[in-house]
Amino acid sequence: MTGLTFRKKAEPEQRLDLSGLTAGRLAGLSASEIAALAIGTTRETVRVGDMFDLSGDDPASIRFEGGSERFDRVGEAMETGEIIVDGDAGVRLGRAMTGGRITVTGSVGGYAGSVMGGGVIDIRGDAGERLGAPLAGERSGMEGGTIKVGGKAGARAADRMRRGTISVAGDAGPDAGSRMIAGTLIVGGRAAGTPGRLMKRGTLILAGGAERFAPTFLDNGPADLLILKVMARSFSAGEVGSVPFEDMAMRRLGGDTAVLGLGEIFLPL
């Protein structure tokens, strides 16, 4: 068995729903059955075979050769296996996934890792808005697992996050960590807007500082805390990899006291 490869034939004219192309959903399907799967999002039917040349046969290891910002819902709800996208991906990458690993060499659209419960998403480029965040109405965002972004993230990363770790190497768009319930967001670059707005609990580590904070965050002063050391060691040894705050002297802010106020933001001292 060799991994299943979808080679992009041409740039799609419509957005594609690729949520059906995961190990669990493709198990037991023949190449011709896979080629016949509908992936369109408009009245005009588009099938896998129209968009991709297929090779290989093992759905536990899927590769998209050539990506597109119109490749939506890649790895949605996946439970196991690996997906690699050589190029960009669209919205809702890895939404609600519970296990396995997705690697994207390019950039992705909004809502990557939305409400994911487990597994690993590794985005080498940039992530769009609402990384790990819930869709409308959902009460919690990311619930577990790891998201790693090599570039920058869009607005509201880690919104309503409840568990797991997000690490963004570059800058974060406005209002990162909004309404956080728990979990950890690490930003290597600078955070725009008002990070942590309405956060109840959880940890924001903003190694590159931030634009501003709400007055309902209170300065707790320098914080040379063991937990940071333990986290840094633990992350370095795991999927997250090296973190920007290792050995960095930090200051802690507590808030948002407009709500529960038990969240924390770490900044360089």
């Binding site: 949520s19 949605e76 709800a77 939404r95 609600a96 409400v115 869709l135 409308a136 109405g137 959902e138 009460r139």
Partner: protein
């Protein structure tokens, strides 16, 4: 065109029919068998099938501002929103008017009553109903927390003046009856009162729940509105206080017709270490002893749902238990209301006992014409759970299996396990067809006698009652085949059944003045003109009793 439904087991308690035979339909109505030798244009072979009138749901929140707010509040339970293949009981209902009509029709329901239409939301409700396909619809208009009624009672205005006001409200809102929800309770809540009993008085008006209920009961009777006043009692869901409230309300019927809604939520005592117990048996006995009272159950089933109620006080109190944790509370003219999501869990002692109390009431109230089949959709459960409830009522073994899956502590608190009764097909037909039609005064339906509208549900009987009632073999609406093998084969629109009681002209000008002076809005905003509905012939008027 003459259609012959051939050789079915016709169950039509209104006409004392419970035997195999033919049924004939012509021009949308049931007709007498034609002279022998007349060939039918169309024949449906009903051999081995059960033929009943289309079912009538007297209490199901399917349209209006609060229902739409529930849709708005909970997008995450719409099936399209789920990570595949996740489905919740709510996503199975679907959220749209379209799905509501189709799912009801597939189960053989052909008339559904939206029971809580605020006068100010009448047009909105009727617009949604107009978009609800296949079934006929009706509404109950809500009074009892409105400034004008309470002012009229306080000022000691005449019974006829009050009846005129009620007549205007029913007529302009195109309702089929009058509902009273926690009479005075919502008004009191606006005054920051957080608990309201039957004999408590609304601040500023000095009128009690009892006075409001009695006044409306009288007006409804005097106007000849067929459906008795439909009452949602005080203290819904509060252990102890709920059962006290409903007992007081039943006693207050005093021999005149009164309908009490979703009484399951009032069958709660305070015994046991969790201070929560069943008073199902006592409540059933009270109902059995009060033949002038009719009730519906509001059965709780397990799973995600959402409570939708104009009982603003109760919904506010319940928002702490919201699951997921979000809710919308409305402060409207008169009732207001609230939308609070709820997830009834099999493993929860409280939820499991609620489930058992509902079934106790179904089974211990003796007369199937006195108790009606509801989940108070979607408050106790979505209406798509009905097939399961039919099975629970008709099969003691099914009940026992469900009971066995519940927390052990529940079995000790309910008599459900010992109740032997199993509903017969005839009793089911009484409860869901004959009796509701009588209760609503819609004599053209709920039975299969000559002249009845040909709303007919045909089921494939079997051991599995859930399957039987979940997907009708055939459904005819106004004589037209709309469902086959549980799937809709023809979309069409039904009508809204309404009353048109005449209000005194003076009342109309008084109300024009009242709404203009007090609220700064024209009274015509509360009227539902026929043109607004945008369907041909949208209403069907049901006569009042003379």
């Amino acid at each position: 065109m003459l259609t012959r439904l051939k050789n079915g087991h016709v169950v039509d308690p209104a006409n004392d029919r419970d035997a195999v035979g033919d049924l004939f339909v012509k021009d949308g109505v049931v007709v007498a068998p034609p002279p022998s030798g007349t060939a039918a244009d169309e024949e449906i072979d009903c051999s081995g099938l059960v033929v009943m009138a289309g079912a009538i749901d007297i209490h199901s929140h399917i349209a209006g501002g609060h229902v739409n707010t529930a849709r708005l509040l909970l997008p995450e339970y719409h099936q399209a929103f789920q990570a595949r293949p996740g489905l919740t009981s709510l996503s199975k209902v679907g959220w749209t008017t379209e799905e509501t009509g189709l799912r009801y029709a597939e189960m053989g329901f052909t008339t559904v009553v939206e029971p809580a239409m605020a006068p100010t939301a009448a047009l909105h409700a009727h617009l949604e109903l107009a978009d609800t396909p296949i079934i006929d619809k009706a509404t109950l208009v809500v009074l009892g927390n409105d400034d004008l009624l309470m002012t009229m009672i306080r000022e000691g205005e005449s019974e006829s003046a009050i009846a005129d006001y009620v007549a205007w409200t029913v007529s302009s809102s195109r309702a089929l009856g009058v509902k009273c929800i926690n009479a005075g309770g919502s008004a009191a809540f606006k005054e920051n009162v957080r608990k309201f009993d039957f004999d408590d008085v609304v601040p500023d008006y000095g009128v009690s729940s009892r006075q409001i209920v009695k006044t409306l009961q009288k007006a409804v009777g005097d106007l000849g509105i067929p459906h008795p006043l439909h009452v949602h009692c005080n203290n819904l869901g509060v252990p102890g206080d709920s059962s006290d409230s409903i007992e007081a309300t039943i006693r207050a019927a005093e021999g005149d017709p009164l309908h009490l809604a979703h009484i399951q939520f009032y069958g709660y005592g305070t015994e046991g270490k969790r201070r929560f117990s069943s008073r199902g048996q006592q409540l059933a006995e009270l109902v059995n002893a009060a033949p002038e009272v009719t009730v519906d159950i509001g059965q709780v089933m397990f799973g995600q749902t959402v409570t939708i109620s104009s009982d603003e006080l109760r919904q506010f109190a319940g928002r702490g238990q919201a699951s997921p944790k979000k809710s919308v509370i409305f402060d409207h003219e008169a009732n207001g209301g609230g939308v609070v999501p709820m997830n009834y869990k099999e493993k929860s002692f409280f939820n499991a006992l609620q489930w058992a109390i509902g079934l106790e009431l179904f089974l211990l109230i003796e007369n199937p014409a006195q108790v009606f089949f509801t989940t108070d959709h979607p408050n106790g459960a979505p209406f798509t759970t009905y097939p399961d409830i039919f099975a629970l009522l008709m099969d003691r073994g099914v009940r026992q299996r469900w009971l066995d899956a519940l927390p052990k502590a529940v079995a000790k608190m309910t008599t459900l396990g010992e109740i032997e009764r199993e509903y017969t097909l005839n009793e089911i037909a009484t409860m869901t067809r004959a009796a509701p039609a009588r209760l609503l005064g819609t004599t053209d339906r709920g039975h299969l006698g000559e002249g009845a509208v040909a709303d007919i549900a045909i089921y494939r009987p079997g051991e599995d009652k859930t399957a039987m009632f979940g997907k009708a073999a055939y459904v005819l609406k106004d004589g037209e085949l709309v469902v086959k093998d549980g799937s809709v084969v023809k979309r069409r629109y039904g009508r809204a059944l309404t009353l048109r009681p005449e209000a005194d002209k003076a009342m109309k000008s008084r109300l024009d003045r009242y709404f203009d002076e007090k609220y700064g809005i024209p009274a015509r905003w509360l009227e539902v003109p026929e043109h607004a509905i945008g369907r041909t012939d949208p209403f069907k008027v049901v006569p009042c009793r003379s």
